[in-house]
Symmetry: C2
Subunit: 346 residues, 2 copies
């Protein structure tokens, strides 16, 4: 038996911004059988995570470049792996059987062959929407959790600033920081997002960075007592302005630099005299280094969701063919919350 | 009884580079008596430390600027405090008596009144030159020790790069790192300094950054296996090139940014994508936050000096009137090792 598998791929390595023509929806027949002894699993994908970091994987790097070693590149024409929730169709792995719901690295496509069965089984009685497992309870959530708690170590009363605060990671960082007793301000790129941050997501304050002509003085206005923690999703000018407004012993979790992903010229040049005299720490991190926190993160966050202490903010598109525009929209700030593409019903 | 006290001061706040005309040698009578109950001590200064950070204290800052909070400003016309070794002339502090040798914050001048007697007594039987207590055993040494061991946590086999490696702090960082089993490369601004690093100070390799047209490829040449630790004394282009050549989990101790002290335009813009994907930590620090290490530092370093495992590299000028040129020379790289001005014989 075989199916026609539609999946998204890139037509060539991407330089600068991503555009629709960089992507192609391919169709290929997929036989629904697995090699005995392979542990492979074939799944039907239900929803997949759409994340800005994928752009870094779509670029080409010279072999001499040590950059982005952790980001395994994506090859034109091949499927693009991404976190997703799926249903098992065929399994050679004794831990999984047909119809199991699973989460793990599948593809931006309708079906995936998961080599060696590197998947996690979901509780079939889960009451949470399946998309949560690709977003808030997936790498986006772990990134927020690890970056805030491991890198920034928030204390009650700390003044916390989050950029791209309506994004998949930022909105959660702000909510975790509020639950830790911090004062939290976020920035985003529209009035609607600012309203959402203040009214639904519980941020103490928020502003639209596009309406500010001078980020440095904007931050001085929102943080008259200085910034203790900055969760950086954007890099660029904002990082410079934050360093200028930071308190002694300030901590910056460098999580993303979306301003630089598509335009390498927009690099931040933070004042190193500030960094030294204020003993600022700027620490890059990846969620995958903090898998030891995973079970803590899952249980804590699931409980917060159940008791309403954390609001889930998702932005869902439908159909595998919507993946390219969903992805490109991330860099225009189209998404409000975690971007997910729903590919099929259960 | 009174003496004529000659001391150096600035004529106005300094913008950009320091020049001779920014300084003045003042003469003022100083009565050799102290207020009973004050704990004050009057000392005759024997030698004083000359450090680049003083330039940051000589600038003027607007009150809204949160920058350089730790650097208490220097006022035009007033004495400039600096670490030095001195001899007690008059003491109201019961812990000190006439002729005690002391180390602490005195002034760029011939005599100082030390308020409250914040000084440390030297062992009168010390066999080490007194200047060591203002340099290698003073804040320069503690800065090297704390920055390397607390911020960078060197492991055997780590690849360590030190900029301004012939400077007061850099030369020691390299020597400590060698004693920790690291591979150490330094850069400096002349062939003589490069030779000194390799031949006398035990660096594995060294280069003259002024002879390199492309710092990025120079570092790739000296560190084919990447850089694990960077002790940054200069900021600017070099910091950018280091981040590009850094290994995963690389650590940068941001100690000085001498390229930016006199030219704020020379700011480093490290690639934040590298910082994130390679999980790089850039940590500003000041030695004063690490006073808990002081006794460890003193005993370890004194032993290393005595058994020849650390070479002391000093650059001594003579006379209070030589202080301005000694200071200005730091920014031209005139000094080879720790710059000290000897003011008087014991």
């Amino acid at each position: 038996m075989e199916v026609n598998n539609r999946y998204v791929t890139i037509t060539k390595h991407i330089q600068g911004s991503a555009k629709e023509s960089d992507f192609e929806l391919k169709v290929a027949p997929l036989g629904l059988s697995v090699e005995p002894g392979s542990n492979d699993i074939i799944v039907k994908n239900l929803c997949v995570s759409i994340d800005p970091y994928q752009l870094n994987r779509m670029k080409s790097y010279s072999s001499s470049q040590k950059t982005v070693q952790a980001a395994v590149g994506i090859s034109p024409g091949l499927p693009i792996d991404a976190l997703g929730v799926a249903k098992v169709l065929v399994s050679d792995n004794p831990e999984f059987v047909k119809d199991d719901l699973v989460v793990g690295f599948v593809h931006w496509g309708e079906y995936s062959v998961v080599k060696g069965g590197m998947l996690r089984k979901l509780d079939p009685k889960t009451e949470l929407p399946l998309s949560y497992h690709a977003g808030i309870l997936g790498l986006s959530g772990l990134t927020a959790y690890a970056g805030l708690f491991e890198i920034c170590k928030p204390k009650k009363g700390d003044k916390v600033f989050v950029s791209a605060a309506c994004g998949s990671v930022g909105n959660l960082v702000g909510q975790y920081a509020k639950l830790s007793g911090c004062y939290v301000v976020g920035c985003a790129g529209s009035r609607d997002k600012v309203a959402l941050l203040k009214e639904r997501l519980g941020f103490d304050d928020a502003f639209n960075y596009k309406e500010e002509t001078d980020l440095n003085s904007a931050l001085t206005r929102y943080f008259p007592d200085g910034i203790d923690i900055y969760f950086d999703n954007v890099g660029g000018d904002m990082l410079e302005a934050v360093v200028a407004n930071m308190n002694p012993s300030g901590r910056v979790a460098a999580c993303g630099t979306i301003a630089e992903y598509s335009d390498a010229a927009k690099r931040a040049a933070p004042n190193m005299i500030d960094v030294i005299y204020k003993r600022i720490k700027i620490q890059g991190f990846l969620a995958i280094d903090h898998m030891s926190l995973h079970s803590d993160f899952l249980s804590t966050t699931t409980e917060y969701i159940h008791n309403g202490k954390i609001k889930v903010q998702e932005d869902i598109s439908n159909g595998v063919e919507s993946i390219p525009s969903a992805f490109i929209g991330l860099f225009r700030g189209d998404n409000v919350g975690k971007k997910i593409v729903k590919i099929a019903d259960e």
